[in-house]
């Protein structure tokens, strides 16, 4: 019985880099050899969701959405476009952040599809946010004396979007690693524009919970926070804003450790990938190699 992994991502008609994290994480997982095939599929690019399964030979497919929250895309668009028979969001039995997987049949290919919850609501995503903070500060022990802002789009489009942000902010806060942890949003209170109002710490790491870098993470958020007047001229890391040092990390989805979350999703759905998880964590967690 062969097993394949299909990573489903949004993609873009306008932004050439939107698909880059998807390909990067697919390549990382491909290199582990855990799956007979690893394929990328997109809503706005090709292969399109609609036709992705027909280029996969395996009878058994683990389908992992590279999306941040549970909602419209994961509950309606992906199941419809992948033609997952008998799909119903109730099968995930989720409170908005607790989907694991459901096993269904693809109507056009007959394959067995283990349809997983999105990467963004998996517990291990908290580790990726922390890892992103380590990457941007260059400090594997970052936390003491630092505030952490986890930034999301907000509820205008999907109430679960805020749930995912708050879920990880709460988990990281409970871990006690950072002095302060806040969930901030682009289009609702508390707003990322006022980031310095919410922190007492001099140093604040800002991690946007987005899959890819694009308009929001590279134009909107840096300008809204006051890192720069014009995104095209770039910004300093850290940047001085209102007496605070803002360490802005860019989209969390570009962090190599994201590949681990994709694997964790597949593992929770029954894929035999324990060895690959160990390997990917070792390669991407930033911990010094043995004997270093």
């Amino acid at each position: 019985m062969t097993q394949a992994l299909v990573i489903a991502a949004h993609g873009s008609h306008l932004n050439a880099e939107s698909s880059t994290p998807t390909f990067d994480h697919a390549d990382t997982i491909r290199a582990t050899g855990a799956f007979d095939e690893v394929r990328e599929a997109f809503w706005k690019e090709e292969p399109h969701f609609r036709e992705a399964l027909r280029v996969v030979d395996a009878d058994e497919v683990y389908l992992v959405p590279l999306f941040i929250s549970e909602g419209y895309f994961t509950e309606q668009v992906i199941p419809r476009e992948f033609r997952l028979e008998e799909w119903d969001p109730e099968l995930w039995d989720s409170d908005g952040t607790s989907a694991t997987h459901a096993t269904l049949r693809a109507e056009d290919t007959g394959q067995t599809v283990h349809y997983c919850g999105p990467v963004g609501t998996h517990d291990s995503m908290s580790d990726v946010i922390v890892r992103r903070a380590e990457s941007v500060t260059g400090d594997d022990d970052v936390g003491d004396g630092f505030g952490l802002a986890v930034v999301g789009h907000g509820t205008e489009r999907n109430e679960n979007s805020a749930k995912a942000i708050e879920y990880h902010a709460d988990r990281i806060r409970e871990s006690g690693r950072f002095d302060e942890v806040k969930a901030l949003f682009m289009d609702e209170e508390p707003e990322v524009d006022d980031v310095t109002d919410f922190f007492e710490s001099d140093d604040v790491v800002v991690v946007p919970l987005f899959v890819a870098d694009g308009y929001h993470t590279q134009e909107d958020i840096p300008e809204d926070m006051g890192l720069t007047d014009d995104y095209r001229t770039g910004w300093d890391t850290p940047a001085e804003v209102d007496g605070h040092r803002i360490w802005y990390s860019g989209a969390v989805g570009t962090e190599p450790l994201m590949a681990d979350v994709v694997l964790e999703r597949a593992a929770d759905a029954g894929a035999d990938v324990e060895g690959a998880i160990e390997r990917v964590k070792a390669e991407t967690s930033g911990s010094p190699a043995t004997g270093d």
Binding site: S12, H13, L14, N15, A16, F23, D27, W43, K44, E45, E46, P47, H48, R50, E51, A52, R54, V55, D57, Y72, Q76, V77, R80, D108
Partner: protein, 360 residues
Amino acid sequence: MHDSQVAAVAEAAADGIDFDGLRVRADGDEYRVAADGTETTVDEDGLGSVLAEHADYATNWYFWHATAPQAEPRWAYLRWLERSDELSVPERYDALREGVTRSWGQLRITATVDEDGRRRYALRNEEDAGVPDGELTTYEDPQEARSLAKRDDDGKYRPLKTAPTLRTGWRFAGLSAAGLVEAVDYFYPATVANWHREREGELDVDHWRETMERQTGMFGLIKTWDRNEGHEHVDWVAEACCVDSQCVKRREWQYDEETDLDVDGGDGHFPCREPCSVVVSAARKWTKLEAEEPQTYEFELTPSEKEQIEAIIDAVADGETEAIREADVYEGANRYRARFLRAKLFDEDGDLAGVETDRE
């Protein structure tokens, strides 16, 4: 012929081989080998030498059963590439030794064979057909196709993989059979699978109506564009987006199961089975724009100014603005000509002939 190839033939002969003009059958301790109009019976020790006499037939069987990807669409595609349905094994091997070339969209694919029957595939842009190898950048890893497919020769992002804007200047020289289909799939995703389904009479076409009916969320409003008043609007969409000058797929979807569009679907090698995401996104914009009521505006234009506006629309629609020479003021869409027209006809608010847009 390698010993391992002879052993593979011997093993398969138990069930009988009958492939591309080679027949081998095990009969007790003997093997009956038929090819090229001859038939020979040998024992196991003699099998290698009789297969060597028909080496092309034997290595051909071995390649197609032990080396080539076995998934049916890819296998059929690789067979098509070397014209296996048109050429006998001797003819095909003669051709493959020189190189058998076929086109696939803008790709030029050349298959060759070595003395062991192993195929190698070279790949480049059709536009680079006559360019010496040394003038092209050579790639080995099929995954490089992903980045090659991302931008055109001007560095512009290609949101549609099958737009006829594939960049030039690269080549793959010695891809394996599996590597070739992987590269093709990165350049033109799912085209081999859909081409194969079509050949088998199993292509699942989703026409305009059913595709738009399926849309939800921000795209749900496209449904409102079909008002049971014919399909002229969809003809315009197809003419705008789905002709050979814009996409190398051959459009097989129509307005609906009963109603063909009036626009030709093109001559592409591989089919387009439903309106793509680029068409769906554009259709959403057109649905909104086409909801507007026409207004009557009054402008005064000279005959040449009217023709110049037509020339500008043509040049933009055909992507020819870049090709118009800097000082070619005889072209209506020349930049100086357009700037002169703007200087003369636009007021300070950018309104044509000072006539305001009526949005009432």
